[in-house]
């Protein structure tokens, strides 16, 4: 029995020790001890470096000085000792007399009080006045005495100081040089004391963020994350890699760590905190997926610095019309009509056979199309095509027929049409052959698809056929439209695609009527209406909304026949596979109606990243930063610009094409009322060019959005702008006119009518427009230095700016006293009232004044835009 006691006692003791051992060995405690060792080691190293730095000539010098000072002091020890004695005596006497002075002073103050009291109580101060006078006299005597004694004391002190101060100074010098070492020595003692085998004060460090419902203990191990200087330390001790950029604007005391990184903030082991562990649905986000968290707060924007992937995903979601089927709470596309064209008059536009090929697999017909491929059962494609081909519009055709009758088919039209297509920059949106953008449908083989009647009608008035189309109206003449039609209709393919024209064989002998009726049913049940409007058919498909997709429990998702090795059981992998191949999780009981979009890998990842932002456990409103008025205006403007592909021709915010003017600084340049009307109904600014700003048919919301956008980009006020009102004097206008003529502005600029016989590439914008169009301040800045506003412009700098000052060209020396500022103002004022000139401008396309600097840019223009600068 006693032996049993003994054994059990030993076992209990060992078990208790084991308990302590596991407590000592907890993962985070190990990391904290490691971090403390690291700090001690680094301090040791720093100290060594500081010591190495120390042994320089400067220190040698300071030490020599000290030695010398000490020697001098020792050599004159007697004198020094005597001085010390003298100083002691002098101090003693001085302090004694000075104390006396203080006593007298306080007695005087008391007497003065009594005196004042007497005066106030009406007793005229007879009694104390004598005492006051007496004390005043006493005080001045004593002050004199003390001052004399102080001088003696100072002399005595100076005698000692003579020996002491060089020693002190040398010691201070050495101390200053050794300060780093001393500091590091102290730090080393501290860090070493903390880095013992059984250190004190190991503790869980946490941010308790009640508002966010988070408790983040990450810093328990990532101890150096908020300490700059540890960038090169090994994980987990290194400084946050984005310490300056991200951590500064998102302080962890406010946002914690897991708000952005995900992971289990509570956890105190490495695996539980980072890994994909059971019961924790918010694992650490690696790599690109970390961007999903940006949108928790910055959800209202479509452009966000540092989060390109998720922004691309959001854009894809909008462009591919995912929102047509899948609703997301809070997601609203800018334009609420659907992404695909309205399915009308297709019978008048194309052939049933082409429709069949297209619907069966759009990507083989047009590799870059956004139209997805559906999974059809046999005979379904034929039925849908038959229905669509039955939609006809008889108003299409007469216009083309009339033009055809008038113009006939001439072979030169093809070249003419092709040239016009180039000049109008159709490739800005449409792909034609190898070149062009995929914003709008590819035109490479348009002749296989579309009938010329329809093309003609479309070019003349796109909105008539598709009220919501983004295709703008180019205000083409009948002839222009006809030659383009001729050219486009000639774009036909060979081989496989060539067979797309023509009729179809009746498949299976099904009568056309039942085929059409079946096609109508299918359109409703396949979800075509998510992207296309079809009159007279109602959507019959029920599709789950995507709100909260990222919160989905893994058990809510059906993985079908896939094995965990193929598709890991995470929401991310489920969504990724679903986008790539919608039917991947199909079983006998489940059929996915979703079509295949054939996105490339980076697009899938971007879209996935965006979808993974759809959580209902976002941060509370209070931790988000709302958009300012200006940011909102920019945001809306960017959406409109993207929606209408303005950057196909213009460069906006540094992105886009050089075909049309760069719109940088547009907000500063043009008047908002002019811009509003121009966007509403563009006028051709340079009628001598074929290229022109087309009419996009913007609605009021879009136009005001764009005007506000350009204003916001340049920091201009909106909607009430203010600009300087020119108040020209008679004299000023006269001077302006003189200069205007002298600089030969009209050699390039048009005034009213386009001159004939002048090479059009040398023409510059109409100056009669200035007063309606441009802001007076901008005109001034432009005249002053056009190169500053638009580098590479052919507008000459009329007042050359050389070596820090402006020069007045010699012929203008006498105008307005040769004052450059006044001259510029005069020209500006003249332009603001300029209505054109009576006489014909000189037909000389020669630049008037060629400044020294301007020469280079003029000889070889950096960019040669089709549109020239205003």
């Amino acid at each position: 029995m006693s032996r049993a006691f003994g054994w059990i006692g030993i076992v209990l003791f060992l078990v208790t020790l084991w308990g302590f051992w596991t407590e000592y060995n907890r993962e985070w405690k190990g990391y904290q001890r490691g971090f403390r060792r690291l700090l001690a080691e680094r301090t040791q190293k720093e100290l060594q470096e500081a010591r190495d730095r120390l042994s320089g000539p400067e220190l040698e010098k300071a030490r020599a000085a000290l030695e010398q000072a000490v020697t001098i002091k020792k050599e004159n020890q007697e004198d020094y000792d005597e001085g010390v004695k003298e100083r002691k005596a002098a101090r003693h006497i001085f302090f004694k007399e000075d104390r006396k002075r203080q006593f007298i002073k306080s007695r005087l103050d008391a007497a003065l009080y009594r005196y004042e009291h007497e005066v106030k109580s009406g007793r005229a101060g007879e009694f104390e006045k004598g005492a006051v006078e007496e004390l005043k006299r006493e005080l001045s005597e004593q002050e004199e005495r003390a001052a004399g004694l102080e001088k003696i004391k100072d002399q005595a002190e100076a005698r000692v100081e003579h020996y002491d101060s060089p020693v002190d100074a040398a010691q201070a010098d050495i101390g200053r040089l050794e300060a780093d070492v001393r500091r590091l020595e102290k730090k080393l003692r501290q860090t070493q004391a903390q880095a013992l085998v059984f250190p004190r004060g190991l503790e869980i460090k946490q941010f308790n963020l009640e508002e966010l419902g988070r408790v983040d203990r990450c810093m328990t191990c990532h101890m150096g994350a908020d300490q700059p200087g540890l960038e090169d330390a090994p994980p987990p001790f290194a400084t946050h890699p984005q310490f300056k950029t991200l951590l500064a604007s998102h302080p962890p005391e406010k946002f914690g760590c897991t708000s952005c990184h995900g992971g289990q903030g509570w956890a105190t082991t490495r695996e539980a905190a980072h890994g994909r562990v059971e019961f924790w649905h918010e694992p650490l986000l690696d790599g690109k997926f970390i961007e999903t968290r940006c949108l928790q707060c910055h959800s209202g924007v479509t452009q966000l610095e540092g989060a390109p992937v998720v922004m691309k995903g959001r854009q894809l979601f909008e462009q591919y019309g995912c929102w047509g089927c899948h609703q997301i709470e809070g997601f609203k596309p800018l334009e609420e009509h659907r992404v695909g064209p309205k399915l009308v008059s297709l019978g008048s536009k194309t052939s049933q056979k082409w429709l069949e090929a297209w619907i069966r697999d759009p990507k083989t017909v047009r590799p870059k199309t956004r139209m997805p491929a559906f999974r059809f059962a046999e005979g379904e494609v034929e039925a849908i095509s038959a229905y669509l081909a039955s939609l006809r519009d008889d108003t299409i055709g007469p216009g083309y027929a009339a033009a055809e009758k008038e113009l006939g088919h001439l072979s030169q039209y093809l070249a003419e049409g092709q040239e016009l297509v180039g000049k109008l920059n159709c490739a800005g949106c449409h792909k034609v052959g190898a070149e062009g953008d995929v914003y709008a449908p590819e035109l490479t083989l348009i002749g296989d698809k579309t009938r010329p009647e329809w093309i003609y009608q479309w070019l003349k008035d796109p909105k008539k056929l598709q009220p919501h189309t983004h295709m703008p109206d180019f205000r083409l003449t009948d002839r222009e439209a006809f030659v383009i039609t001729e050219y486009l209709a000639s774009l036909k393919g060979q081989g496989v695609r060539a067979g797309l024209q023509g009729g179809v064989q009746q498949g299976g002998g099904e009568p056309q009527e039942t085929l059409i009726a079946r096609g109508k049913e299918l359109i409703a049940s396949k979800g075509c209406m998510a992207c296309h409007e079809v009159e007279g058919i109602e959507q019959k498909l029920i599709i789950p909304p995507l709100t909260g997709l990222a919160d989905k429990h893994i058990h809510e998702l059906e993985f079908g026949y896939t094995r965990p090795e193929e598709v890991p059981r995470t929401v991310y992998d489920w969504v990724r596979h679903k986008i790539n191949k919608p039917g991947v999780f199909d079983t006998e009981r489940i059929f996915a109606n979703m079509p295949t979009f054939n996105l490339d890998d980076s697009e899938v990842e971007a879209l996935l990243t965006y979808l993974m932002t759809l959580t209902e456990h976002g941060l509370p409103e209070s931790s988000r930063s709302p958009l300012t008025e200006r940011e909102r205006a920019i945001e809306l403007g960017r959406q409109i610009v993207r929606e209408h592909n303005c950057t196909a021709c213009h460069k906006i915010e540094g992105v886009g094409s050089d075909v049309a003017p760069d719109l940088a600084g547009e907000g500063k340049k043009v008047r908002q009322d002019w811009l509003f009307h121009f966007l509403k109904e563009p006028r051709t600014l340079r009628p001598w060019l074929d290229a022109r700003m087309p009419n996009f048919g913007f609605d009021d919301k879009e136009v005001t959005g764009l005007v506000a956008y350009f204003a916001a980009l340049d920091g201009e006020p909106y909607p009430y702008e203010s600009f300087e009102t020119p108040a020209p004097t008679e004299e000023g206008l006269e001077a302006g006119k003189q200069l205007f003529e002298m600089f030969k502005c009209l050699a390039c600029h048009v005034a009213g009518e386009v001159p004939e016989g002048v090479p059009t590439e040398n023409l510059a914008p109409d100056l009669t427009q200035v007063k309606h169009r441009l802001k007076p301040e901008w005109v001034k800045a432009w005249l002053e230095d056009p190169q500053k506003i638009q580098p590479g412009t052919r507008m000459p700098t009329n007042w050359p700016y050389i070596m820090g000052r402006y020069y007045v060209p010699p012929p203008a020396k006498d105008i307005l006293g040769g004052d450059v500022a006044l001259q510029i103002q005069a020209v500006r004022d003249y332009l603001m009232v300029f209505e054109g000139v009576e006489e014909e401008p000189e037909p000389l396309p020669e630049p008037a004044v060629v400044p020294a600097e301007g020469e280079a840019t003029q000889a070889e223009p950096v960019q040669e835009p089709v549109f020239e600068t205003q």
Partner: protein
């Protein structure tokens, strides 16, 4: 097998597995003692406990020493358990999401299992009440004086087997089933089957009246006559037959005790009967009324 081990070794299932083992160990131990005594009684020697009652030792140190060792062993087990096994925390509580499967505390899993076969008012109110009342009534119903202070089987077969059936089969076994064999969706899983949340089982059940092809539109008091008849016969006919067969038993208890005993016993048997009817005939309810279903 790995799935079974996984479920068995879940931190919150460890005590249940231990409890099941302990219950069977002590039941088996009692059986061993009882059989030994039965053999002794048969041989005319009387139970062992009678023989040992004359031998006595001091509490200190003989008992206390053993108790202290037991206390130390339990301490060791608790220390090892608390260090080696982490607390079974699951997801952050979310009022909008119920865990699947949603399980009651282990000691209520027998009741939860009954909910599969009976309406809540029966499984949750009537049955527990009758269980407690029945257990309280046992001393007043039991007139068999034998087996006091010693283990025996032959002298009290009805008491022992009746209790063990209720306790082991209808209570412990149902806790075991509820813990280890009820998976997601409260579906039944055999021990070696992985718990698949998407498991689909046919769950179409019918009422007795439907089994008998009675038009569902007839008034319930006509439609449910067979069910009422079944219950009436269950609680009257069976006791009558048993009384005829087991005359001595009936005579020993007297009519009131006999009927109360039989009522409680038959009520207990309703549970396995309903379970068997469910498995074989897909029976949903015996009686369906606008207010309650049985």
């Amino acid at each position: 097998m790995e799935h079974f081990i996984k479920i068995l070794s879940k931190p919150d299932n460890i005590p249940i597995a231990g409890m099941v083992l302990l219950v069977f160990f002590y039941t088996g131990w009692a059986f061993v003692m009882a059989i030994r005594n039965d053999l002794r009684i048969k041989a005319g020697k009387g139970p062992l406990e009678l023989e040992e009652s004359g031998l006595k030792v001091d509490v200190m140190p003989h008992l206390l020493k053993r108790e202290f060792i037991a206390a130390l062993v339990v301490t060791i087990i608790l220390v090892i358990w608390s260090v080696a096994v982490n607390a079974p925390l699951e997801e952050i509580a979310n009022p909008a999401v119920t865990p699947n499967p949603s399980k009651a505390p282990w000691y209520f899993l027998g009741l939860q299992e009954m909910l599969v076969y009976f309406d809540p008012w029966l499984a949750g109110v009537v049955f527990p009440t009758l269980i407690i009342l029945g257990l309280m009534a046992i001393p007043y119903l039991d007139k068999n004086a034998k087996g006091n202070g010693y283990y025996t089987l032959q002298e009290r077969p009805f008491a022992i087997f009746g209790f063990l059936f209720g306790f082991l089969i209808l209570w412990v076994a149902m806790i075991f089933t509820g813990t280890f064999m009820r998976g997601p969706g409260w579906n039944f899983f055999s021990p070696f089957e992985p718990w698949d949340v998407h498991k689909v089982v046919p769950l179409t059940n019918v009422d007795l009246s439907e089994l008998l092809d009675i038009d569902p539109k007839t008034p319930w008091y006509v439609r449910e006559v067979p069910g009422f008849l079944f219950l009436l016969l269950w609680f009257t006919f069976i006791p009558y037959v048993v009384a005829l067969v087991k005359r001595a038993f009936f005579a020993q208890l007297g009519i009131v005790r006999y009927w109360v005993t039989m009522f409680l016993f038959l009520f207990m048997l309703l549970l396995p009967v309903k379970m068997i009817l469910r498995w074989t005939l897909n029976l949903k309810y015996l009686i369906v009324t606008p207010w309650f279903n049985i």
